[in-house]
């Protein structure tokens, strides 16, 4: 079974530029999550999708971050414009719907450096 795929693995941009990350979840997983992990901290949920609908985006800085999950499969997360404090690893995770939804499967992440 293929795992969660993410690209790119690394990205370096200057502040005020824009960037996009892509995630392809495990086949059949209805729930998709985007997390931000700042160095020395645990992952923080940015947005959660159930199929192609947003379930929770309460911690997404909506003035600069946006995310979509077209057709309920893969997803993109965009930052525009980037700030220095956006430097972090962006993790995508997926889980099957239902009671087992607590067990999330993570991709390798995209390490973003904003200079």
């Amino acid at each position: 079974e293929a795992g969660v795929a993410q690209s790119p693995r690394y990205k370096i941009i200057e502040k005020r530029q824009s960037v996009a990350f892509w995630c392809n979840p495990i086949s059949g997983h209805a729930t998709l999550y985007w997390y931000q992990q700042i160095l020395g901290q645990g992952p923080k949920l940015l947005i959660q999708f159930q199929n192609n609908g947003v379930v929770d985006d309460s911690q997404l800085p909506k003035d600069r971050f946006s995310a979509e999950r077209l057709k309920g499969v893969d997803s993109t997360l965009k930052i525009q414009p980037a700030k220095l404090e956006d430097s972090a690893v962006y993790l995508c995770a997926s889980s099957p719907a239902g009671l087992l939804s607590y067990e999330q499967y993570f991709g390798p992440g995209t390490r973003l450096t904003v200079t």
Binding site: G40, K44, L45, Q48, V55, S58, A93, S101, F106, P108
Partner: protein, 115 residues
């Protein structure tokens, strides 16, 4: 508001000995607790979980203990092996609500097992 805390940033143990990683939480509404392991340049991988109605769950060398009255859980690894060296994250899921499945993570503990 840090609802899940791992107060030890790092832990060093000798191969063959026991590793004990600790986690405290503040929200009584959490219904599942999980431990994830993370190697460098990889995403977190699920290790073991425990329901809030239980006080112990064991899986091979890994045992998680839950003390609800103290709002404390711990992960025991016996015997510790050098391959266990990684960052360990404690996570908790809040029961019900619209963001079902949302996990709140602690800051992580770096475990180093010396040969």
């Amino acid at each position: 508001d840090q609802q899940v805390k791992q107060n030890s940033p790092s832990l060093s143990v000798q191969e063959g000995r026991i590793s004990i990683l600790n986690c405290d939480y503040t929200n009584s509404m959490f219904d599942y607790f999980l431990w994830y392991k993370k190697y460098p340049a990889e995403g977190p991988t699920f290790l073991i979980s425990i329901s809030s109605i239980k006080d112990k769950n064991e899986d091979g060398r890994f045992t998680v203990f839950l003390n609800k009255s103290a709002k404390h859980l711990s992960l025991h690894i016996v015997p510790s092996q050098p391959g266990d060296s990684a960052v360990y994250f404690c996570a908790a899921r809040k029961a019900g609500g619209t963001s079902y499945g949302k996990l709140t993570f602690g800051q992580g503990t770096i475990l180093t097992v010396h040969p």
